[in-house]
């Protein structure tokens, strides 16, 4: 079953590395709260391959003054989009 992973701690937590090691093709990752710092350019080298879609919660990105370049591989979603992703994927695993 496809799975949406949420990550809510900063890169200092190393959560993305644990998450990526147990992904299946077709899974997605949504960065929320301090997890959105994974969208900064310095972290993009850690992002998984193209078969994993990446998302970030717009409200948390804006709060922190981050700008996610449109060329980046991360799609911004608002809370309605967050709920939509939870329906699209068949289950949700939260990394906190």
């Amino acid at each position: 079953m496809t799975c949406l992973h949420t990550i809510s701690k900063s890169p200092t937590s190393k959560l993305l590395s644990s998450c990526v090691s147990v992904l299946k093709p077709g899974d997605g990752i949504l960065f929320i709260e301090d997890g959105v710092y994974y969208c900064s350019p310095a972290e993009s080298g850690r992002h998984p391959g193209a078969d994993i879609r990446l998302f970030a919660l717009q409200e948390d990105v804006a709060a922190r003054g981050l700008s996610v370049p449109s060329a980046a591989d991360v799609e911004l979603v608002d809370y309605a989009g967050f709920v939509g992703l939870c329906c699209e994927y068949e289950k949700i695993v939260s990394w906190f």
Partner: protein, 124 residues
């Protein structure tokens, strides 16, 4: 997705060291409750969670219950699918013989399967 009201497959990923915060204790309580209510439980120790498995724990000196001892209830409650991430053990220099439970060291691929097969995953 399994139909309503049936048995569900629930995977727990216990990722925190014992004692420093309450996550390891909460994760265990949830899994035991699942077993009591007849769900199919898998229990995985990952990252700092592998520290829960060290032998010879004795938490009386910090006014706490000894979690390593409490983990034995997993078996008593009929939770047989218990495993530990081999990489997390080796990164921390912990050998299989140092563990309080007879628990199978598994690969990340195996853990990915347990997440994939689950209806619900609790990860704390």
């Amino acid at each position: 997705m399994a139909s309503k009201n049936t048995n569900k497959a629930i995977t727990f990923i216990s990722r925190r060291a014992p004692y420093g915060d309450s996550n390891a204790q909460l994760c265990l309580e949830m899994a035991l409750a699942c077993a009591v209510f007849g769900q199919t439980v898998s229990y995985v120790f990952l990252d700092d969670g592998v520290y829960q498995l060290l032998k010879h724990q004795d938490a009386r000196g910090i006014d706490s219950k000894t979690l390593g001892k409490a983990l034995e209830t997993l078996d008593l409650y009929g939770i047989e699918n218990v495993c530990v991430d081999a990489d997390s053990l080796s990164e921390r220099g912990i050998r299989g013989g140092d563990l309080v439970l007879e628990v199978e060291p598994v690969s990340r691929t195996h853990i990915a399967e347990l997440i994939d097969q689950a209806d619900t995953v609790f990860n704390l």
